[in-house]
């Protein structure tokens, strides 16, 4: 188990207090929203994809703990400019590594919620269009 200072590192707190890319995204290509049923944390993810199938813009909305919201903020920075295929393929590990903290099972759910919602957004749209 990490100490509080391990869990709430400067970087996490910074993203939490000053989130990047937070807000609605009019004209988004993909959008989804989900909650963590265990705790009620809520994240919505919006992606805009350009003609070359790159993520041209990305936003999140949500409310929840520092871990989930910082994770969402950091995820947006990882996604911007990525080919959609790479965005889709982004693994749990990559995000956890970026967060740079060791997480217990329950808090891991917080951290991964944004990634889950991002994948949901892409998958549901695709399913609808096929």
């Amino acid at each position: 188990m990490p100490a509080a200072s391990d869990l709430y590192q400067e970087q996490i707190l910074d993203h939490y207090k000053h989130p990047k890319n937070k807000g609605p995204l009019p004209g988004a290509t993909f959008s989804a929203r989900d909650t963590n049923p265990l705790c009620g944390d809520e994240v919505a993810f919006h992606l805009k994809v350009d003609r070359s199938q790159r993520v041209s813009d990305v936003r999140f909305e949500g409310r929840g703990c520092a871990i989930s919201q910082a994770s969402a903020s950091m995820l947006t920075t990882m996604l911007k400019g990525l080919p959609l295929s790479e965005a889709e393929a982004l693994g749990d590990d990559a995000l956890v590594k970026k967060l740079g903290i060791s997480l217990s099972a329950v808090r891991l759910n917080c951290a991964l919620l944004p990634l889950h919602v991002m994948r949901l957004a892409v998958r549901e749209k695709k399913a609808a269009s096929t």
Partner: protein
């Protein structure tokens, strides 16, 4: 705040009965403030289940050998203890289930979905119920066409009783309410609620999950028709729940689980039921769980439920004073400990409850964070989540001091 010199209960002696409280978490004393989720267990309870498995484990009721008779005696003895604990007239009013959740579902299915309710009949709940007292009634709506209505809570955390009077009509067949809220701590005026329900011919179902462990309950005085609670929240084992029913209420209820034990005769395609309460105990029951619950009831009876309640009032008062007055901390629910059980929901400005819990965990403090299985209540107060500390017989004022110090740490991190 001045700390009283001596508490009502002998907490050091009580702590010594709980093996887990000897445990250290990261070299710190374990400060367990999540008894509303589940309580810790004294060695008397642990030993009772070990003794069952080691000395007289057998299936109950039908065995014609000594082990089986001993098991049956102890299992039925636990039923008698529970009956006495809540003032039931007879052990036959006590049904063993696996949890409050099963108890409430038993009533929703047995009295509602499979029972007496007709399309259009109304079920009146409240906004402050636990999910276990919401979702079963959804089933009755979905499958029987019942209509659900809800009494709102005021900002101070009490039920809007004048709205109750408005919503309660001849169409109301079931009124269901928590005796004590697991978030706000509010102790609802259930005796009055049951009385008014009876006046329109409705039955009253009480969720006593947060009440039975913490205050004296007298089902004769309350006069509700059904009352549900869980063993694991009152020092007992997991996997054992209780449903108390008035004899005529239980007689009017269909069984939930069909199977062994609960039948009188089974033929191909048809069966008749055993007597109440066995009718509701289909399958091999949680025998060890019931016996452990019996030991838990003994333990609480020994402390005295009046003293348990007084002890918790003292801690709650101290916590309201000490935590409630920290700048940047908001507490929810009644501020008058006479109307409040030992449950303290709170939020800290700029800190999400999950983060609060994580930071307190590092200090060896166990609290709960989230929606506490009460999403409709959280929506009502427009809160995504709260932190919650809850107290029991093994807690003392020092635990509150440790919590207060932890909260200061949280505030430093999120300053």
């Amino acid at each position: 705040m001045a700390k009283p010199a001596k508490m009502l209960l002998n907490v050091p002696a009580i702590k010594a009965d709980f093996p887990i409280l000897q445990r250290k978490v990261r070299d710190r004393r374990l400060v367990y403030l999540d008894s509303a989720a589940t309580s810790q267990k004294p060695k008397q309870v642990i030993d009772a289940t070990t003794d069952f498995y080691s000395r007289y484990n057998a299936n109950v009721h039908r065995a014609i050998y000594e082990l089986g008779e001993e098991a049956t005696r102890e299992y039925e003895g636990a039923r008698e203890k529970v009956a006495a604990f809540i003032g039931a007239k007879s052990p036959n009013e006590i049904v063993f289930t696996k949890s409050t959740t099963e108890s409430l579902n038993l009533v929703a299915y047995g009295y509602g979905l499979k029972g007496k309710l007709q399309k259009g009949d109304e079920i009146l709940g409240t906004v402050m119920e636990h999910h276990s007292n919401h979702v079963p009634w959804h089933f009755v709506k979905d499958h029987k066409g019942a209509v659900l209505k809800y009494v709102d809570v005021s900002d101070d955390g009490t039920l809007k009783m004048e709205q109750y009077d408005e919503l309660l009509t001849k169409r109301t067949k079931i009124v269901t309410v928590a005796l004590c809220s697991n978030v706000l701590g509010t102790i609802n005026p259930v005796k009055e609620i049951a009385k008014r329900a009876h006046e329109v011919g409705a039955v009253c179902v009480v969720d006593a999950a947060q009440a039975a462990p913490h205050m004296p309950i007298d089902v004769q005085d309350l006069d509700a028709d059904f009352l549900a609670f869980s063993g694991h929240k009152m020092l007992g084992p997991t996997g054992i729940g209780i449903l108390h029913g008035k004899p005529e209420a239980l007689e009017a209820t269909e069984p939930l689980l069909g199977g062994g034990e609960m039948i009188r005769e089974v033929h191909l395609g048809r069966a008749s039921w055993n007597d109440v309460p066995y009718r509701f105990e289909g399958g091999t029951p949680n025998i060890a769980g019931a016996i452990g619950l019996g030991a838990a009831v003994d333990y609480l009876t020994n402390l005295g439920m009046e003293s348990v309640r007084a002890h918790e009032m003292e801690i709650t008062q101290y916590a309201l004073d000490k935590i409630g007055r920290i700048n940047g901390v908001t507490t929810y629910g009644p501020k008058d400990v006479k109307k409040k059980a030992g449950v303290l929901a709170f939020t800290i400005d700029n800190a999400h409850p999950h983060d609060v819990a994580s930071i307190l965990d590092v200090e060896g403090i166990c609290i709960r964070s989230g929606h506490h299985c009460a999403q409709p209540l959280m929506e009502r107060y427009d809160l995504p989540a709260t932190a919650r500390a809850s107290f029991y017989v093994y807690n003392d004022l020092e635990d509150v001091d440790v919590l207060a110090a932890g909260i200061k740490k949280v505030q430093e991190v999120f300053a």
